[in-house]
Homo-oligomer: 184 residues x 2
């Protein structure tokens, strides 16, 4: 199985699959099977980073009380309470946000590949970051900003690859793109 062996339809499917990712905030009570979770975690482990420093670790939280606690540590983090799993991204320090974003996106896409929805929750303000560190026993110097809520969508329509027109849109290509220079 090689990427170069993929025909045009397969390539286009893969592109459309990546394009289809969107956030899911309401989850079904269905647990995520252990083997599926392991595969999602392994995709995360293989994420690329600056000079392959891999400046990260992950705490996997499934305990309902802990999930409810984490849900209180951010302004828009309430969806964590109903998640099947939370992935707490523990960065070596607070200056790894680009790599943190790469890791978050890879985890979300890996989950999406298995029909699992996800949504980023941001731990804030700093007092809540400190609470999250205490809850999970994470050393003070680590960056703990991003927690991913994972779970099967409460509404299975969320998994359609075709965009429905209901979800938040994006700015048009003309406002996103320039050719050769910023004025182009």
């Amino acid at each position: 199985m090689q990427i170069e062996g993929a025909d045009q339809a397969q390539q286009s499917d893969r592109g459309q699959f990546i394009r289809s990712l969107r956030s899911v905030r309401r989850f079904a009570p269905t647990p995520i099977p252990e083997d599926v979770l392991r595969q999602v975690l392994d995709v995360g482990r293989w994420t690329g980073s600056a000079k392959n420093t891999q400046p990260w670790q992950v705490v996997v939280v499934r305990d309902r009380d802990r999930l409810r606690q984490l849900a209180e540590y951010g302004a828009f983090a309430s969806h964590l309470a109903g998640a099947a799993v939370a992935l707490v991204l523990v960065m070596d320090d607070d200056n790894r946000r680009l790599d943190e974003g790469r890791l978050a996106q890879n985890f979300m896409l890996a989950a999406w590949a298995y029909g699992i929805g996800s949504c980023i929750a941001t731990m804030q303000p700093e007092t809540n970051v400190e609470r999250a560190r205490r809850l999970l026993g994470i050393p003070t110097e680590r960056g703990v900003r991003t927690v991913l809520a994972l779970g099967y969508p409460a509404d299975p329509r969320a998994l359609r690859l075709e965009l429905s027109g209901v979800e938040p849109g994006r700015k048009p290509m003309a406002e996103f793109l320039h050719w050769e220079t910023y004025s182009g």
Copy 2:
């Protein structure tokens, strides 16, 4: 075509596809067809961001002289000189690095879906960021840290989904993962 309709083999393929992404720094002279480039750019446009702010624009550079110039604006940016295309990520300001990482990862995976390799180049130090802004006519307040080099790999073996064991590895799961708490 629905994600929920995907069978186990398809799900596993998608997971393995995401897991297989790695950086490519040496490119074939083959140009990227316009329709393929447009599809990659559209995946980027649909990338999720904090509160759907989409704090980004992209400058697409194909002019060889400009590519050579950009290649001089970073310590490890030389691979830009041989790229078919450079995607310059222009962020609304310098505090959007998590979203910038999500955009970079999505672009790299979208390119990978079409058999196109990529590698991040970081514009640095600040004097070089300023040079990049001047070269492309980008306003001073914008963040211009990350440029993606895109191109078909000079070595087609780069596109194998199976890891060869030659590329840089990753730390083992035991050093990446904790269960429930940081000591778990």
